[in-house]
Symmetry: D2
Subunit: 309 residues, 4 copies
C-alpha cells in the first residue's frame, strides 16, 4: 500500500444538495425539514471502503457495484463516513418517538430558556383516524367528516384554552420551566439533528415502514426521498433495494418454501407446518399469528399457498 | 497472571438493596422510582479493575483506596461493570429531559398501544416558582400563595378539560396514536430504565446539580441517595467527593490564585486579571461573567479576593 | 394502568446458568469464555415489553409468542433489558475484530501495568488454511500437512524469539508500555466484556456467520450455543429462526421470484433480469456478482432457476 | 421565534483548514495524521446553541463569550455539531488504545483483505524508556545510549525475522487472515477516523494528558495543536482553559483549603486532615496517596502547605 504520495483532497460537494441548502420542505400543517450542512457523498463511501481494502479509486460503474455490495452484505462502517445536519420543526408528540434513536446529535429548542413556540399541530376534519381493530398500535380508516368537523373544532378550542393559560402563567411571572408543564404534546418544537448515513438509513427503515405512525412517516419520507436521494443517490438506491423494500423469510418459512418446491403432497406439507409450530399448540387447527404473516407475504408476491387451496 | 485456576464465582448480592427491590420511592405528587434488578456491586468494580491490572483480590481497605483512585483519575470502565434497572413514573415534561441521556436502555409505556395513564402532575398553591431575573433558564422564589391558589385551581380545571377531550376522542373511536396528540406534558408516563453505574454517575452529576430543574432533581436525589448509596456505598462516597461536590478552577483562575499567593500588589493583580481577559474588552472596567463566577467560587470557600477589598 | 399495587420483585435466576457461573469454556488452544454475572432472563424481556404495553404478566405460552413477535418485528428494546458479563481470553489478533463492536463495556488486561500474558496462540500442522481464490477476505482448504509441519515449527521458533526479546527488554529495565511494542498479535489477552442481549445478538449474527473468520467464530459459537441458549432459551430460539438462519431477498429478487410464479416465458424472464440490472452493463451476457449470489440462494432452497435450465 | 424567514445557508468553510486538507502531519517515525473532511466550525457551535435558546446570530465578541460559557458549564451538545474525518497511520499497539474510544466512526485497513502494510515502528537508540518506579503504568528516564544501541539493533533484527516469516506464509499460499497472526504490534495500520468535536475534546483531554503513553500523546498533540486549533480556534482556546489545563479539587480538599484561609492553628488543621481521611487508617502518621496528590497540586500553584512547614 502506497501512502507516501497523497492526492489533493477536495471536500465532496453535491450540487443538487447545495441548491436546497437551508430550504425548508414543509411537513404536516406547520412543520419542516431543511438541510443545514452535510459531509461526504457517495464517493466518500467508496473512499472509506477502499481504505479498508487498501486500494485506489476506480471507475464509476465499479463504485456503484461496490456500494451495492457493501449494503447487501451489511458492511456498514463506510456509510458512517457521511454525515448530515438537519433543522427540523416537529410536534412534541412526534419528537418523543424521534428522540428514541440514540445515535444522533441533538440541539433542541429550549422552553426552559425561551417562550414555547406559538404553534400547535392542527388536524383537518378529514384527517381524524379510527383505531385499528386488528392492530393495537395502529389506525385504520378515517372518521367520517361530520365527526371530524366536531373534533377539529374542539381541538381548536383546546389549543386556545391552553395557549391562554400558558400566557397567563408567563404574565404572572411564573418560571418558563414550570409554566410549560401544561403545554400540549401537539406543540411544535425545533431541533438541529445530526446523524451519519448508516444510522440515518436505520432510522428511515423503521420510520418509513407502513407500521410507523403517519406523522413521523411523513418526516421520514421527506428526509429519504427529498434529501438522501439527492445527497447519495447510489447508496439510496441500494438502500431501497436491500433494506427498505427487501423481503425476509425465517428459517421455518424457508424450510416450508424449500419443501414445497419438490413436494406437492398436501398432508405432508400440513404435517411439516405443524411440526414447525405454525399452528397453535393448544388449538392445532388454528393458525398462529406467524402463519398468517407468512401467508400474507406469499400472497403479496403471487406465490401459491398449497395448504390454503 | 494465573488463569488456569478459577475461583468459584458468586453473583454479588447487596442485602440493603435486595430489601428494597420493587419498593417504590415516591417522587413529586404521583411519581416514583423503584429498583427492578441490578448486577454487580462495589466488589465488581474492584474485580474489573484487577483484571486490567492482572491481580487477585485483596483486603477491603485496599478495595476502598482502589475505587477512590479509579474515580479520582477518571478510570471509568470498571464502573461500567455495574448495571441497574429502574422502574420510573415521571411526568412527560420531565421525561423529555431524562431521555436526552443516550447511554441507557429504555422501555417506555406506549400511549399508542394503550390508553394514556390517567394521572397528571399537580402543583400545590405554595409550589409555583417565579422566573429568575438573572438566570434565563431558572426559577427563583415562590409566588405568593394568593396567586398560587388561583393558578392551582386553573391547573385542575385545565387537566379536567383535557382528560375529557381525550376520553371523548377515544369513545368516538379515534386511534389512540392520534387522540394523544393533545395530552398535556404534565401527564405521567412510566418506563423501565437500565444504565451502568458510570453513566448513571454522569446523569446524577448533571441532574443533582443546583442548576437542574427541581422536578428532575427530585428524581436524581432519590436515585442517588436512596438507591446508589445503598447499592455501591464506596463508589457513591468517592463520587460525592470527586465529582458531585468537587470544585474546578480554569487555567486562568489558577494563574491568578497562584500569583496572589506570593504577590499582594493590587495593581499588578489587576493588570494580570485584565491581560487574562477577565474584564470586558470593550468596557475594561466591567467584570466579565467569568470573573463574577470566579469571585463567587472564591467567596464560597472563604478565600480573600484582593481586587475586591 | 394500575401502578399502586406492586408485586414483590425477585431477581430472575437461571439455574442452568448459575451452574456454569465462572466455569471456563475452552476456545482455540488456550483461550476461554466464562460467565461472571448476568441480569435478567427470558421473563425480563416479557416484563419490559409489558411495561410498554401496559399489561400484567400472562401464561408461558403467550410469553413465548410475545418474545417471538418482538424478535420478528425488530422491537429490540426489551432485549436490551438483559445483560451479561463474560471473562474472555483471546488472541490479540481476534480481539482486534471483537473490540470493533462499540456497544459493550470492556475492561482489558493491561500490558502497560502488568507483564504480558505468557501465552501465544499456536497453530497445529493440520490447521493452516489456504487463501481463498474467489473470496479476497477468506480462506478455503487446509494446506497439506507436510507444509503445515514446517509452518508450525517456524511458528514455535518465532514465538520463542519474541518471548526472549520481550523478557530481555523487561530485564534491562525498559518500560512495559514500550517493551510490548514487539509482541505478536497471537499473544493472548484477557478482558471482562459486558453487553446487553440485543447487542449480543447483533454480535453473534455477524460473528457466527460463515464469512466471519474461523477464530472469532469459535468464540461466537461458544457464547451463543453454550451460554445464551442456556440463559434465554426462548429468545435464543427466536434469534435462530428470525435472524441467524433467516433468508432475505432484495426488492429486485422478489420481483423476479414473483414474476416467475406465473410467467414461464424464458425470454421475458431474461428481459426482466436485464432491466433490473442483473447483468453487467458493459457486458450484458455476463451475470453480475449480485445475480450469482441470487442463484446461490435459490439453489440452496431447491428453487428452480428457469434462466439456467 | 420566527421560523418562516430562512436566511440563506452556507456550509462553513475554514480557510486555514482547507489549505491543509489532505496534507499529512508526520508522527513517530512513519505515522501521520491528515484531515480528509470536516463539517462545521466555531460558528456552527454558536448556531446550534442559539437554536436551543431561540435566538438569532449576534456579534463575534458575543460568539466567543457564548462558546466559553458553553464549555465552562458542560453544555456539550453544541460541540457535537462539528465533525471531522481524519486519515491516520499508526502502529497497531497505539491503535489498540485509540480504538477504545467508542464514539467515533472507523474504517480500518484490513489485513484480512490485503497484505499487511510493510512498515513497523522503529525505536532510535536514544528513545528507549525505563520503567517508572513509582508509577506502575508509566515510564521515566531514557535508558543510556549504549543499551539503546543494542536494543535498536535487536529490534531491527526482530522486524526482519517477522517480515520474512510473514512473506513466506503468503508465498506458501496461506490465507492472509491467518498469516497475520504473527505480525508484531509495532506494525503500522491505517484508518479513517471520524468524530464530533465534543467527543474529540474528550479524547484529547485523556490522550494529551501527561499520564497518556508518549506514542498516542504524540498523535493527540498533532490533532489538537495542528488541526483543531486551526479548525475551531475559539472552542480550542476554551477547551485549553477549562478542560485541558484546569485544576480540580475534591470536596475534602476544598474543605481544607477553605479552613486554612482563616485558621492557622496547625494542630486543628492536622485534626481536620485526619478526620477527612487524609492519613492511612491503620498507620495514622502516614499520608495517603490522596494527600500526596493534594500536596503536589498545592506546590504546583505556590500554595503554602501549613502542615508541611
Amino acid at each position: 500500500m502506497e501512502t507516501n504520495k497523497f492526492e489533493k483532497i477536495d471536500k465532496p460537494s453535491v450540487d443538487s444538495l447545495n441548491s436546497i441548502l437551508g430550504v425548508p420542505f414543509p411537513v404536516l400543517d406547520d412543520g419542516f425539514v431543511r438541510v443545514i450542512d452535510y459531509m461526504g457523498a457517495d464517493e466518500s463511501i467508496v473512499q472509506a471502503a477502499r481504505v479498508s481494502y487498501g486500494k485506489g479509486t476506480k471507475k464509476v460503474s465499479e463504485d456503484k457495484a461496490l456500494i451495492r455490495y457493501l449494503m447487501r452484505h451489511d458492511h456498514t462502517t463506510p456509510f458512517e463516513m457521511c454525515e448530515i445536519k438537519l433543522h427540523v420543526r416537529v410536534p412534541m408528540d412526534c419528537w418523543r418517538q424521534w428522540i428514541r434513536h440514540r445515535t444522533a446529535n441533538v440541539n433542541e429548542y429550549s422552553t426552559r430558556y425561551s417562550l414555547a413556540i406559538d404553534s400547535l399541530q392542527k388536524t383537518a376534519p378529514e384527517q381524524w383516524r379510527l383505531q385499528s381493530k386488528d392492530n393495537k398500535q395502529g389506525s385504520s380508516d378515517f372518521a367520517d367528516t361530520a365527526l371530524g368537523v366536531v373534533l377539529s373544532e374542539e381541538e381548536e378550542n383546546l389549543h386556545n384554552i391552553i395557549k391562554k393559560a400558558y400566557q397567563k402563567r408567563i404574565e404572572m411571572g411564573i418560571a418558563r420551566e414550570q409554566a410549560r408543564k401544561d403545554l400540549l404534546l401537539s406543540t411544535y418544537t425545533e431541533a438541529y439533528w445530526k446523524i451519519d448515513l448508516h444510522n440515518l438509513f436505520h432510522f428511515l427503515r423503521l420510520r418509513m415502514d407502513p407500521h410507523a405512525q403517519v406523522e413521523i412517516r411523513s418526516y421520514a419520507k421527506v428526509i429519504g426521498e427529498k434529501i438522501v436521494k439527492e445527497w447519495c443517490p447510489i447508496a439510496w438506491e441500494a438502500f431501497e433495494d436491500y433494506k427498505l423494500n427487501s423481503q425476509y423469510f425465517s428459517r421455518r418459512e424457508m424450510k416450508v418454501l424449500s419443501f414445497i418446491q419438490t413436494n406437492k403432497n398436501l398432508s405432508e406439507i400440513k404435517t411439516m407446518l405443524n411440526e414447525l409450530g405454525f399452528y397453535l399448540k393448544h388449538e392445532p387447527s388454528k393458525p398462529s399469528r406467524e402463519l398468517l404473516e407468512f401467508e400474507n407475504k406469499l400472497a403479496k408476491y403471487n406465490f401459491i399457498i398449497p395448504w390454503k387451496e
